[in-house]
Symmetry: C2
Subunit: 408 residues, 2 copies
């Protein structure tokens, strides 16, 4: 028995080395976390993180403390056996809901709380998150989810069906636990890096075993974007997957023209081309620039907007982030939706890959999602108690109990 006795919060903030983490829109990031701590009557505690780039952490912590109040006194197994209900009660809190709903800071607070609940649950069973999730029955998984507002595309029965359909073939996919999950390198080409730095980083990434990497574009001078994109392609080779990340800085007309101008270097995807609520702009763009694919999700707040992007065929690579949507629970919901629509999930890693390394293993084994690759950003390794280990471009399967979210 592990009952939640007290809830506290803390802020972790880590300035980056010069130019690191910069993109065309976020020019001055301080990688930060608003952290939920679930204390129990035993020695175990749950840690949940949600990511920001500096501002707002204190305010999110204050929201967490207000929103999580109802969890005090809950026994963790009992709570998680119907977590979908608790999730909905927090998401639809009669006063906090007004501040979203299901988006912005109040949803970030919910993510931090949810992630702490799953962390405590896995630790209380003494297993890593991926193991916990794989050990649950389809019914138990679905009971952790809120499928509300998805009725016309994904019912409870539909969600159960996806999980049950992949049960018998699990063993084929479990070899990923030994092989490790492929990573891709996001740190070769932050926006403020010089061309020379990018060239060097590409060399290092290739030498380290990465066959996929990402460059920040979205410069006011399209020429700079094009020059750097070709520079990466040249260094990485024709077979490497090179992704271009715009971080929302283009208008639709500019997205169409610049994507076309970049098509000859064969980007594997164009990421976040424009404003992340704009389903129709992305739909138009997807049609205009096919066969170039669109990736997005880093700033898509909830399952409902993801549903709309999928219905519109406005996204190919679903970059849902469990530190943006309402935590691990809504991440799984969106992954089920993506499976239903036949789309790959390639998470954005606001958590630096710590939690998502568990979740992509679950997605692959339990839902049959392709084991494509997971974003890798190493800048905060030294601050985590159990940093993810990436060797030869491959994430090693984490073995410590919980969600790998504890800080040193």
């Amino acid at each position: 028995m592990h009952a939640i006795t007290k809830i506290t919060t803390s802020v972790k903030a880590f300035p980056l080395k010069e130019g690191g983490g910069t993109d065309s829109v976020h020019t001055d990031p301080v990688y930060s976390y608003a952290v939920t701590h679930l204390h129990t009557d035993s020695k175990i505690s749950g840690t949940g993180i949600v990511f920001t780039i500096g501002a707002g952490n204190r305010e999110i912590c204050s929201l967490i403390e207000g929103l999580a109040e109802s969890l005090v006194g809950c026994e963790i197994e009992e709570l998680m056996s119907q977590f979908g209900v608790a999730f909905r009660q927090m998401a639809d809190h009669p006063q906090y809901r007004w501040l979203g709903p299901h988006k912005g800071m109040v949803h970030l607070a919910l993510a931090s709380i949810t992630n702490a609940c799953f962390d405590l649950w896995a630790k209380s069973r003494g297993v890593p998150l991926w193991r916990l999730l794989l050990d649950l029955s389809a019914e138990q998984i679905v009971n952790t989810l809120d499928l509300g507002y998805l009725e016309e595309v994904l019912t409870k029965e539909g969600a159960l069906g996806i999980l049950l359909d992949h049960e018998n073939s699990r063993s084929e996919r479990e070899e990923i636990l030994e092989l490790g999950y492929p990573g891709y390198d996001t740190s070769i080409g932050w926006f403020n890096y010089s061309d020379e730095q990018v060239r060097e980083n590409v060399k290092k990434a290739v030498a380290a075993g990465f066959t996929a990497m990402k460059l920040k574009v979205g410069s006011p001078e399209t020429e700079r974007d094009i020059r750097r994109a070709y520079l990466v392609r040249e260094g990485a080779g024709a077979d490497a997957k090179v992704m271009l990340d715009v971080n929302q800085s283009w208008t639709l007309p500019k997205a169409i023209s610049t994507s076309k101008a970049l098509s000859d270097m064969s980007p594997y995807w164009i990421e976040e081309p424009t404003q992340p609520d704009d389903v129709f702009a992305h739909q138009t763009l997807a049609r205009e620039i096919a066969p170039i694919d669109i990736a997005l999700g880093e700033h898509v707040s909830n399952r409902v907007l993801f549903k709309n992007f999928m219905q519109a065929e406005a996204v190919k690579f679903v970059q849902v982030d469990c530190t943006r949507v309402g935590g691990i629970s809504e991440f799984i919901t969106v992954s089920l939706l993506a499976r239903k629509f036949g789309l790959p999930v390639v998470p954005h890693v606001g958590d630096m890959g710590q939690i998502h390394q568990h979740l992509v293993l679950f997605n692959h084994i339990a839902m049959g999602h392709e084991a494509l690759f997971l974003e890798h950003i190493p800048h905060l390794r030294e601050y985590f108690l159990h940093p993810s280990v990436v060797n030869g471009g491959i994430y090693e399967t984490p073995q410590e109990p919980g969600t790998s979210s504890d800080f040193v």
Copy 2:
């Protein structure tokens, strides 16, 4: 000259009388404001409000203080001459932007700031907001807006065009200033009111001169919704406009079936039938239940989502609220969009109609929007220094300088 010397914030919270303000989702509201105060080197100060239903005010105030810092030292005429630029800089602040973008609490903070800037501007000229806006040239109006991410449907030239096209015919519409703007009564049928109370309130509303009124529905028992809807229709008469407000509590399948079941009492609109990010659900619903119209906007965060709803033909009555989107500036942007799409603007009044009574006059006179009616909720009258005056169901044109946002 009125330069901003200091920015402070305050919280105003007003518990309601029993059952007042309740709906199917927000069951326990405390009507509240996170208030921005712009102090100047003169005697004038600017007051900006943003609405919540209780939780989160303190956190919004903290965001306001961080986000508005850059305005200290600005001279108000100079600031407002290019307010669109300042608005974008705050909306796209390199760290705060992560918390939205353009939605949730960080956007509520921006709304409060923006509304304070317009309040200070109007007061510094000694005129009510509607007069200030009508006195500005089309170019000056457009310079207060951020039209980013709308390029494919509304350019700067397009926005100017709408205003210029309606300049010559303004005098015909200026008679509204004498006649007053029609109101509709939202307070007849809060969710927790008994049938008897609703019946009484309808009588009072009719006696007070209202020909339009709104009932809260969205009960788990559809029968209750139907019974009460007919009860209002009976009391209000066949010619009255009766609106039904679901406050997002239906799923799409339930929205379709219940709207159809309610069609015989001829609702003037069905409001917020389901989750407010769900463009496609509303599109499907609009097609299924035509000719019943859909109203929404109370929880639509920004111009981009409004654009999508309009592109999808998923909304008829645009209920943009300057205490939900980024303040008066984005309210005008959305009103221009609505004009472009030929849709009426009927604001939701998180401000209790204090600011919107100015804005609907501007929309009607300067853009040619139909003077349909403005929501009226009297519960906070006693707390405002210059409460809106509604007589015979008609809003009297406010004459005091500013946006009518000061509290007693």
